[in-house]
């Protein structure tokens, strides 16, 4: 028993306390709401301290440590069902807790700068702390019920934060959209939980994992599929991914924290947690891989056509999550976790960098406003930017580093994790009965990787290289460049920390063959694999070392070619011409991408419209005519008899007196005769 594990409840309690203090005091006191420094630091520390505790627990564990379950109290007790508030301290949950609190603390720090002038400052930090609390419950829970509490909790926080500027109708409906799409997935997840309970009779992880044998192949398949549908909602996969791009309506730190680094990865975590179950059902794994592969390529092609800096990153996130599901589907659970971690670093960095850019553009808009020029331009449209590297060196450097990392150029973190995913896909092609499909998916993943590199460099180069385009694009903004400025220290510091992690984060999972080729000594360089060995299962790699090298070089070649191509097309202010060239080359296909595959429209016409019509013409009529009709009919019958009987009550005392007399006569009559 690990003595440090006793303190695990603090990890959950501190963010909750931060949430309560900021929330309740902020709600009741106007003066407190203006103490922005106090609020911001309190919230940041409420995440940073749990990070330190997690780190301490993490360091006191070794790869071979047995999982420790800390039971706090019994939460629900009904019949033979009990559910505790119990937290599981094992390698997987601590890894997730570190990512959540670590990235979370950095983003809190960043938000103090980003949200400085917002009147909802206290509310923002209250929600963020609540989110951290819910997310930690999700990853640390020892049973599915508590996990589900966290699962819904992060959904609520996501809703609250997407709709943070709720006075804007578009933003508040984006929040609703996110919530409702998640609800579809949650429904399936719940059914899956019911199935698990019916089979094993408990929702505790230990009991489930010890009784995997109780699941018949059919049952395992359905449970896996239902859990996966839940994951597609939270982790934005086909068919439920359309909410994520709209979720960019929220403040940028929210996009970084919730919609890139943490919440959207909870589906990956769930499936990794249940890897033992998934391994028993190859069909479910295939489904996961196919959906992941399709999402990766669909989102990557859409990202290619977007001009909103945050939208590109949003589609990129969807695409990268698709990569993670590809890894899960091909048995590389560790590879998926690896990509999750590295993605958390570089994508959070990219989002925060885009926030820094948007911040600067807003400042320009604001200053122009001061000059008396009421100019309308989109501060998120990258066609208005360009040349920002001169004005925002820190943002530029960190953004570039993260772009290189996500592009998969060698020795940055994304390279290692993406390479491992591709290797697992190829490996899954070599074994098992669905090999051919996995080879196709491997091809798709390569194309998606190519596109990823391309659109990310398109974004970075258009934003930061070339010349500042706003003066040319918008009349009246000719000398607006002088208002561009680097963001303050508390925004650039998290950027640098994340950028450094984006460079070196890959070192936690250096593939074995990198070293074993050169030395015969038995070395374990793949720390992450060692670390998670006891918690997750994984497919064994059957590929030879030579094949692995070839695959790695293919991946490098794809990334390099794509990078060079992107530099040629976008490096020197020729974004518009290059976009047009791509459009010409792909013709109708490009239009499909630009229209985002018309998925929103398809859902609108196949689900929302018919649903609305059924409700409007069927259910509403039934409700008004039949349900209301029955109730009203009963009411009017009563009213009818009442209207007859009321004439008995004349109000004249003598009428009542007559009734008395007649009554008395009757009673006396009965007594006498």
């Amino acid at each position: 028993m690990n003595p440090m594990a006793e303190y695990v409840w603090l990890i959950m309690a501190i963010p909750l306390a931060g949430f309560l203090i900021n929330g309740l005091v902020g709600l009741s006191s106007e003066t407190y709401r203006n103490q922005k420094n106090v609020i911001g630091w309190l919230a940041t520390i409420a995440v940073f301290v749990p990070f330190l505790i997690s780190l301490q627990i993490f360091l006191s564990m070794s790869a071979g440590s047995e999982p420790v379950v800390v039971r706090l109290f019994t939460w629900i007790e009904a019949g033979n069902f009990t559910s505790d508030v119990a937290y599981r301290v094992d390698q997987l949950s601590m890894l997730m807790a570190l990512v959540v609190t670590g990235v979370g603390a950095l983003i809190h720090l960043y938000s103090m700068g980003y949200m400085k002038d917002d009147e909802g400052y206290w509310k923002f930090f209250t929600y963020l702390n609540l989110f951290i609390f819910a997310m930690l419950n999700l990853v640390m829970a020892n049973n599915l019920v508590l996990l589900f509490l966290g699962w819904e909790g992060v959904g609520v926080c996501s809703y609250l934060l997407i709709g943070f500027w709720y006075k804007d109708m578009v933003k508040s409906s984006a929040a609703k959209k996110a919530f409702i799409y998640n609800r579809v997935g949650d429904f399936a997840f719940l059914i899956g939980m019911f199935l698990v309970f019916r089979t094993v009779g408990s929702l505790d992880f230990d009991v489930i994992f010890n009784n995997i044998a109780l699941f018949t192949p059919d049952l395992a398949f359905w449970v896996c599929v239902l859990f996966f549908v839940g994951a597609t909602g939270k982790s934005a996969q086909i068919p439920l991914f359309v909410w994520l791009p709209d979720a960019m309506a929220g403040p940028t730190p929210v996009s970084a924290l919730i919609h890139a680094a943490t919440m959207v990865t909870s589906g990956i975590y769930l499936i990794t947690r249940f890897s033992a179950l998934y391994m028993t059902s190859p069909e479910a794994m295939l489904l996961v891989a196919v959906i992941g592969g399709l999402t990766a390529i669909v989102a990557a092609t859409i990202a290619l056509t977007q001009n909103d800096i945050k939208k590109v990153l949003a589609y990129s996130t969807v695409s990268q999550l698709g990569f993670m599901f590809l890894a899960l589907g091909s048995g590389g659970y560790v590879a998926a976790m690896f990509h999750l971690v590295t993605h958390a670093f570089f994508k959070a960095c990219l989002f925060l960098g885009s926030g820094s850019v948007i911040h600067a553009m807003h400042h320009v808009e604001h200053e122009l406003d001061h000059e008396g020029k009421k100019l309308k331009f989109d501060p998120q449209d990258m066609r208005n930017m360009g040349g920002l590297r001169k004005y925002m060196p820190s943002t530029y450097k960190t953004f570039m580093i993260s772009t290189i990392a996500i592009a998969g150029l060698p020795f940055f973190s994304g390279f290692f994790s993406k390479d491992e995913i591709l290797a697992y896909l190829f490996n899954a092609g070599m074994v098992g009965e669905y090999g051919a499909i996995y080879f196709v998916l491997w091809g798709l993943a390569l194309v998606a990787a190519f596109l990823t590199t391309f659109y990310m460099f398109r974004l970075t180069l258009t934003t930061f290289h070339g010349t500042f385009k706003l003066p040319a694009k918008v009349k009246g903004a000719e000398d607006s460049a002088k208002y561009l400025h680097e963001s303050p220290m508390n925004m650039t510091l998290p950027l640098w920390v994340l950028a450094i992690l984006a460079i070196f984060g890959g070192l936690i999972g250096i593939p074995e063959f990198f070293v074993s080729t050169f030395t015969t000594a038995d070395v374990n360089v793949n720390w992450l694999y060692e670390w998670l060995r006891g918690v997750t299962t994984r497919e064994t790699i059957v590929l030879s070392v030579t094949t692995m090298w070839i695959l790695a070089f293919i991946a490098i070649a794809v990334a390099v070619i794509s990078t060079l191509l992107a530099f040629r097309m976008y490096n020197s202010d020729n974004a518009d011409a290059s976009d047009a060239a791509i459009k010409k080359r792909f013709g109708a296909l490009y239009t499909v991408w630009e229209d985002k595959y018309k998925l929103d429209e398809v859902y609108e016409s196949t689900i929302i419209k018919p649903g609305f019509n059924i409700s409007d013409r069927g259910l509403a009529v039934f409700d008004i005519k039949v349900v209301d009709g029955t109730v009203n009919a009963i009411g009017s019958i009563v009213q009818f008899f009442g209207s007859l009987l009321r004439f008995v009550q004349t109000g004249v005392i003598q009428t009542y007196a007559i009734a008395f007399v007649i009554g008395v006569i009757l009673i006396i009559g009965l007594l006498i005769f």
């Binding site: 009321r646 004439f647 009550q649 004349t650 109000g651 004249v652 005392i653 003598q654 007559i658 007399v661």
Partner: protein, 100 residues
């Protein structure tokens, strides 16, 4: 010697007159007097029984009835006056607020 039946007959007659008065008269004062008439009828039968049985309890009871009747007359007349002041009428068929 006048027999008990005769007393009871007078009492019953008075009582029925009182009841009919209460039921049919419209003026509140007259209705009130009819109630007194009913009470007197009861008193007569009480006294008649008392003397017939040679038991004074009946007589004592009459005093109580008279007291109650007096008190009731006070309160009742006060109410009638109050109603009259409000409605400018003592016609009880017009005082029918307890209606639908």
């Amino acid at each position: 010697m006048i027999g008990l039946e005769l007393y009871l007959g007078v009492s019953a007659l008075l009582f029925v007159i009182g009841v009919l008065g209460v039921l049919v008269r419209k003026n509140a004062i007259v209705v009130f007097m009819c109630v007194e008439l009913m009470l007197s009828a009861v008193n007569i039968s009480l006294v008649a029984f008392s003397s017939y049985m040679g038991d004074v309890h009946g007589m004592i009871l009459v005093f109580f009835v008279l007291c109650v009747a007096a008190a009731e007359a006070c309160v009742g007349l006060a109410i009638v006056i109050a109603i009259y002041r409000n409605n400018i009428t003592a016609d009880i068929s017009k005082i029918n607020l307890l209606r639908w």
